[in-house]
Symmetry: C2
C-alpha cells in the first residue's frame, strides 16, 4: 500500500511519465472545426455533415485520439454507465456459490443489453460502518445481492448520493427497491410436504445467519440475533410447520460445509431426524453425502430437501443412486434480470419497480416417507 507517487508535484495531475493524451479539443482544432462539432462527430448524436465527420475522424487518427474520455463524459452527463453490484463475501467465496453466479448472470444480461457494465464491490461494511469503495466508485445505481450483513448504512449513504439502490432478498429497507423471493412461504410448503409424508422429526440446516461464519446448532439467542434475511425467512417458514425443529447453522454455502454440518447433525446425541430441510442445494448435496457416510440411505432413512434448484445436480450426484434433489426451485436469473431492470429504470427517472418471485417445490428422489420404526 504505497502512496501513489505523484511526487513530482506538477501542476497537472498526471504529468508523469505517460504521454498526455490528445483531447477532443485538440482534435477539433486539428480538423479545423469547433469542439462541439467534433463531439457530435464522435457521439453520433446530432447533425454533422459527412465532410466534417471524416475530417474529424482523420484528425483523430492522425493524433492517435482514442475517443472521448469516459471520465469527462460521465461528469458532464451525470452518468457513468456503470452499475455497482455489492456482495458481502470475498469474491472467491461469492463466485463459488452458484446462486450468486446465476443471479449475477441475470444482472449482466440485462445490463449488457442496456450498455452498462458491472462494477463488483465487496460489501464494505466494516464494524466501523465504513462504506469505502462503494461510495468512491462511479456508479449510477447499485444492486445489493446476497446480503448477510446489515446494509442500512450503505443504503443511507447511497440514498444521500441519489444513487438508486436495488436490494435482492433483503429485509425491508428504507429507500431500496426490493426484489423479493417467497422464502418463508416456500419453505413452509416444503415443510408441509414433509409433514404430509409423515415426518415428525425434522431438522433444518441454515445458511449463515450473519456475516460471522459461525457453525453449529442454532440457539434461541443466535436466532434472535440473526441478520441474514433470507436464512431467517426460510427458517421461519419451516418453523411454521415444525415450530420446534432444531436448526444447525452452516458457515457458508458449499458442499464441503454441508458435509461437515451434516456429519455433526447425524452424529449428534439428539434423536436423529428423519428429514432435513437444507437452505441451499449446495449444502444439501453435502448433507446427503454426510448421510451416506453415516451409513444412512437417502431417502429411505432420511429425507433431504434443498433450496434453489441449481442445475448441476447431475455432476454432483453422478456416482450416487440419486438422480434429482427435492428442492425449491427459484428463478435466480430472472431475479437478477429484474434487479438490473429496476436499477436501470430508476436511473432513467422511472418510478421504482419492485419485483417478487415464487419458488416451486420440485419433488425429486431425496424425499420419501419416514422409515417405519
Amino acid at each position: 500500500m504505497d502512496e501513489p507517487a505523484t511526487a513530482n508535484g506538477a501542476a497537472r495531475p498526471d504529468t508523469g511519465s505517460r504521454a498526455a493524451r490528445p483531447t477532443l479539443a485538440a482534435v477539433a482544432r486539428a480538423a479545423g472545426v469547433a469542439p462541439s462539432t467534433a463531439s457530435l462527430a464522435f457521439s453520433g448524436a446530432g447533425p454533422v455533415s459527412e465532410e466534417a465527420r471524416t475530417r474529424v475522424l482523420a484528425a483523430a487518427a492522425e493524433l492517435g485520439y482514442g475517443g472521448p474520455d469516459p471520465r469527462a463524459r460521465s461528469l458532464r452527463r451525470g452518468r457513468s454507465g456503470v452499475i455497482g453490484v455489492v456482495m458481502d463475501e470475498r469474491l472467491s467465496d461469492a463466485f463459488r456459490d452458484p446462486v450468486n453466479v446465476l443471479t449475477l448472470d441475470g444482472i449482466a444480461e440485462v445490463a449488457g443489453e442496456a450498455g452498462t457494465s458491472l462494477l463488483l464491490v465487496r460489501s464494505p461494511l466494516d464494524d466501523a460502518g465504513l462504506v469505502g469503495p462503494l461510495v468512491d466508485a462511479p456508479v449510477d445505481a447499485v444492486v445489493l445481492i446476497g446480503c448477510n450483513v446489515r446494509i442500512d448504512p450503505a443504503v443511507a449513504v447511497l440514498r444521500r448520493r441519489n444513487i438508486p439502490v436495488v436490494a435482492i432478498e433483503a429485509d425491508e429497507i428504507e429507500g431500496a427497491v426490493p426484489v423479493q423471493l417467497d422464502n418463508r412461504e416456500a419453505s413452509r410448503r416444503a415443510a408441509a410436504f414433509l409433514r404430509d409424508l409423515g415426518h415428525t422429526a425434522v431438522a433444518v440446516v441454515t445458511l449463515p445467519l450473519d456475516g460471522t461464519h459461525q457453525r453449529g446448532p442454532v440457539s434461541a439467542e443466535r436466532e434472535a440475533a440473526g441478520i441474514a434475511h433470507t436464512s431467517l425467512e426460510r427458517l421461519r417458514g419451516v418453523r411454521g410447520v415444525y415450530p420446534s425443529a432444531p436448526a444447525w447453522e452452516a458457515a457458508g454455502s458449499s458442499v464441503e460445509e454441508g458435509r461437515i454440518v451434516g456429519a455433526a447433525l447425524f452424529a449428534a446425541d439428539a434423536p436423529r431426524p428423519t428429514a432435513v430441510v437444507v437452505q441451499s442445494d449446495v449444502l444439501a448435496v453435502g448433507v446427503i453425502s454426510a448421510a451416506f457416510d453415516a451409513g444412512l440411505r437417502v431417502p429411505e432413512d432420511v429425507s433431504v430437501v434443498g433450496f434453489d434448484g441449481i442445475p448441476v445436480d447431475d455432476s454432483l450426484f453422478h456416482r450416487t443412486p440419486i438422480r434429482q434433489l427435492t428442492t425449491l426451485v427459484q428463478p435466480f436469473v430472472q431475479k437478477g434480470q429484474a434487479a438490473a431492470r429496476a436499477a436501470i429504470a430508476m436511473l432513467e427517472g422511472a418510478p421504482a419497480q419492485p419485483a417478487a418471485f415464487r419458488s416451486e417445490l420440485r419433488i425429486g428422489d431425496t424425499t420419501a416417507p419416514p422409515p417405519a420404526r
Copy 2:
C-alpha cells in the same frame, strides 16, 4: 448516522424525483469556508483545523451531502480507481470455471488492498471488431483474462487511450504486459511422465481453440486456425513428446463437457488411448467419469492427467475410488495477484512488470503404467 434533528429548517423539501444533490461548493458556503477547505475536510489529505472540519461535516449532514462525486473527482484526478477485467465468455460461463474464479480472486485481493474496484467486462469483440463497453467504461487499467479470442483490436484501442493493459496467458501482444504460465513446457513434462510410465497411445482433450465453441476431433486445419494461446501451447507441449497424439476439442471447460468428449473419445473407432492428457481439471473429471461409464478403470485401464490443480477434487470424486487427480498445478491466485499488481504499477507510472509462473506436476492416483496387453 441519523439525520440531525435540527427542528427548524432541517427537513429538505423532497422535490420529487429530481432533488438536485448539493455540491461541495454548497456545503462550503453553508459552513462558511472555502471550497478547497471543504475538499480537504473530506479527502483528509491536507491540513484542516478541527473546527473547520466539524463545521464542514455538520453542514454536509445538514444539507444531506453524501461526499464528493466520484465522477468529478476522477476527471480532476485523471483516475477513476477502477480496473477493468475482461473475459471472453458470458459471465455465467466464466464464473462456472474455477480457473477464472480463482484468478479473479487474486486480482480482487490486490485491487481491494489498493482501494480500486473491478469492472467486469465481457470481451466485446464482435466480428466487426467493436470494442463497445470496454472503451466507454471509466477504467484506469485493464486485465485480460482467459482470452480465447483475438484481442489485438481491443489492446490497440486501449493503447491509444493510454490505458495500461495486462494480458494473462495471451499470445505476445504489442503493448500488453504479459503474465505468463509455462503451458507448453508443463504439458511437455506431463507427457514425458506418461512416456516414462510406458504409454504410447496418448490422446489429448483440449480446451476451446477459439471462441466458436466447437467440439470434436481436432483436424490439422483446425489446429492451424486456432487462436487460443493457452490451449495451443498446452497441445504443443504434448506434441513435443507425442508428435502425432490425436486431439479432441471440448466446447468449454466443464465436467459435463469433459464427460461428453470423453464418451466420444472412448467410443471412437480409433484404437483406445491408454492415457489422456486433458487441458483442465474440470474437463478431466468429466473424462474420468466417461471412462467409468465406458467400463474402464482409472488408472488401471486408462490414465488421465489434468491441468490446473483446482482444489475441489474432493467433492467431485467423492464417491469414486479416486482420491487425487494427477495434474499440473498452477498458481492461479498468484497469477491474478501479479496481474493486478502489474496493472496498478503501470497506472502509477512505474515501468511494466511482466510476470511468469510455473506449473508443478502433482502425481495423484489417476495415472499408472498402461495395461499389459
